[in-house]
């Protein structure tokens, strides 16, 4: 989400590059144990968040999951405050009480992410209900993995969103694996588009390695929801390069073929988008984002830990 003066490819590259570099820095810093928190990295999946969020306004409301770094950054979440949050510092986006799994930035309507699979989906539907009651022009976008569609909460939420024709876009990041469990071992029937259609919600699937097509189809879906056509469902095929949790690779667990992972890394979406730009364009974007990342880490390092009495703060609002 940024000023739309640059080309879509340039905007996507900037967003994806930022996400990639923030997470590479998390990997670099992790052995120092300054980030005392589980991290669920999005490396390999950056295109989905970047492509969808490029069509959103600041007032549009976003719900996501514990694999939420990409989403937070793509929606324009504050980078230094994210890094300070990972460090558990008082200048973090939730003063250190959230960590990596619950990033929040109300100033851009990034509503905060949940670590219990599928639990934020109905909240997103409720936010869409509120927007409709308030006659707002904003829409809700709800991100989740394909694992969340196993949960009853997803089905109940899809039904109600369709019943009330709510302004919400459901974005499923289908990366095939719920931890190490393959979707084919969990999903019966003809797939998620068919399930979405069964609830009366038009659905579309976009294959991996087509970031510009993903960007275009996300734009169409966002426009439909904004027009008041009711919910839309976008199934985005994608792939997580790293382990389910933690900074490492997970080839040692042998739950997915090496060749499958190698092919995904080979077809890196960041490179695909970068190749659409000139070397100079890339260099200028990269330099700017590198500075943001370095500044964010410096900010986190310089910040302090919360005082003891903060442990009692905010149990209740007000």
């Amino acid at each position: 989400m940024e000023e739309r003066t640059n080309s879509p490819a340039a905007r996507l590259y900037r967003s994806m590059y930022l996400i990639r570099r923030v997470e590479e820095e998390i990997i670099r810093l992790y052995p120092t144990d300054k980030i005392k928190s589980p991290v669920h990295l999005s490396i390999g999946q950056e295109a989905v968040s970047a492509a969808v969020c490029d069509h959103l306004e600041k007032s549009d409301v976003l719900f996501g999951t514990y694999r939420g770094h990409a989403l937070y950054l793509a929606k324009g979440g504050d980078v230094p405050r994210m890094m300070a949050e990972l460090y558990g510092k008082v200048d973090g986006c939730a003063r250190g009480k959230a960590g990596s799994m619950h990033l929040v930035d109300p100033s851009v309507n990034m509503m905060g992410t949940s670590a219990v699979v599928a639990t934020g989906i109905s909240n997103a539907v409720g936010a869409a209900l509120a927007l409709k009651m308030q006659k707002s022009k904003a829409i809700v976008v709800c991100f989740f993995g394909e694992g969340a569609t196993d949960e009853g909460a997803w089905h109940e939420s899809m039904n109600f969103a369709s019943l009330r024709k709510l302004p919400i876009l459901f974005v499923c990041e289908n990366n095939f694996y719920a931890i190490y469990s393959h979707v084919k071992d969990r999903l019966a029937g003809p797939g998620l588009q068919a399930r979405s259609n069964a609830y009366g919600i038009p659905a579309e699937l976009v294959e991996d390695h087509e970031p510009m097509k993903l960007h275009e189809r996300a734009g169409a879906a966002v426009a439909a929801v904004r027009r008041g056509d009711g919910p839309r469902f976008l199934e985005c095929m994608t792939y997580r390069w790293r382990d389910h949790v933690g900074p490492g690779e997970d080839r040692v667990h042998k739950y997915r073929p090496d060749e499958e992972l190698n092919a995904k890394i080979e077809g890196d979406n960041l490179k695909i988008v970068g190749d659409l730009l000139s070397a100079d364009q890339r260099k200028s974007i990269e330099a700017a984002e590198e500075k943001r990342v370095a500044d964010a880490i410096a900010f986190a390092e310089a910040s302090t830990f919360p005082e003891d009495q903060e442990v009692y703060d905010h149990v209740f609002a007000g």
Partner: protein, 354 residues
């Protein structure tokens, strides 16, 4: 309960309706959602016709999807709305636990005040005329366990109105426990708007020999037991906690400090229950300086049987409360005493069906 010059009486159910209606009129962000809230019965009259007065956008039926519907309420609350969710039976609230525990009660803390969840969940406990094992359960202690959640269980129509108004205006999630046996009980309810503060117990009837704490419907049964005990020359103080989380332990402990005896009668099971909490907090507060004897009564440690003959054994009654009180005051070796008979009309006359 303060008696007023006009002395207007309403049933508990009418008091809940009046609180809801006046808050909906006052604040357009207040709305009601729940299975059957807009049907011909209107949730035992507590939501009857609100959809006609305020429109079907503000009082509406929902699919049988407790999990997601709770989440929808939370999501709407995050955006500044003030939903009231209603469950005909508390047993079904078990299907909402993930949203209540993992989301509603944690959002303020987890996001350091970036979000608030002004959500009211009304949960009705059933009893009598064959409600059986799955339409009679009382889970208030589950919710008392959770930081970030307020739990109120008003007994009188007066407190039902004030607690609900307070809950609707609160920026935090509140579980309001209503006992179905209370819905038709009458009491004085001032017509104007008022709030009942959290964490303030109500002394329903003062006394000097023993402190009896009765939760929700059991507070009513405890007042009946108090009258039976007059026959044995025992003067019991009956306290209604009203608010279960936060609990007003000061009022209870001060009473026990005077009487030296505590009986807690819960609308629920004893193990890890509200009665355990009240007893242990009271002990922590005054145990070092004041010796006191204590006992707890509640549901039998079984599921609720459907047949009336067994169901009668399952619940504490004015007689069993009076008997337990007598033993606590006079000691185990005292002369036997049989309490008189008293009618719990709201139980005896209940024909449901729910």
């Amino acid at each position: 309960m303060s008696l007023r010059a006009d002395n207007r009486t309403l049933t508990y159910g009418e008091a809940v309706f009046e609180a809801t209606r006046s808050e909906m009129a006052r604040d357009p962000s207040v709305f009601v959602m729940g299975q059957g809230v807009d049907d011909a019965r209107g949730m035992f009259g507590t939501t009857l016709g609100l959809h006609k007065e305020f429109g079907s956008e503000r009082s509406f039926d929902v699919p049988l999807a407790e999990d997601a519907m709770t989440g929808v309420g939370i999501g709407a609350a995050l955006m500044g709305m003030r939903p009231i969710q209603v469950h005909q039976r508390m047993d079904f609230v078990l299907l909402c636990m993930n949203q209540i525990v993992n989301m509603a009660s944690k959002m303020s803390y987890m996001f350091s005040g970036a979000h608030k969840v002004p959500l009211v969940i009304r949960a009705i406990i059933g009893r009598s005329w064959g409600q059986g094992a799955q339409h009679s359960q009382a889970f208030h202690s589950y919710f008392m366990h959770i930081p970030g959640l307020r739990v109120v269980a008003p007994t009188t129509p007066h407190d039902a109105k004030g607690c609900l108004i307070q809950a609707i205006r609160d920026d935090n999630p509140v579980i309001m426990i209503e006992h179905r046996m209370l819905h038709n009980v009458k009491g004085v309810v001032p017509p104007e708007s008022y709030e009942i503060a959290y964490g303030k117990a109500r002394v329903l009837s003062p006394g000097k020999d023993i402190t009896i704490v009765g939760i929700s419907h059991m507070a009513l049964e405890c007042v009946r037991a108090k009258h039976l005990l007059e026959d044995a020359g025992i003067d019991a103080e009956v306290i209604d906690p009203v608010s279960l989380s936060p609990l007003d332990i000061s009022t209870i402990a001060a009473s026990v400090e005077r009487t030296g005896r505590l009986l807690v009668v819960d609308t629920g099971w004893l193990s890890c229950g509200a009665s355990s909490e009240i007893l242990s907090e009271t002990f922590e507060r005054i145990g070092e300086r004041r010796h006191f004897v204590a006992k707890r009564l509640g549901y039998l440690p079984t599921p609720c049987p459907t047949t009336k003959i067994l169901e009668n054994l399952y619940y504490p009654s004015p007689q069993s409360i009076a008997q337990a009180t007598y033993r606590l005051v006079r000691g185990e070796n005292a002369t036997a005493w049989q309490p008189g008979k008293v009618d719990s009309a709201e139980v005896a006359e209940f024909r449901g069906p729910f």
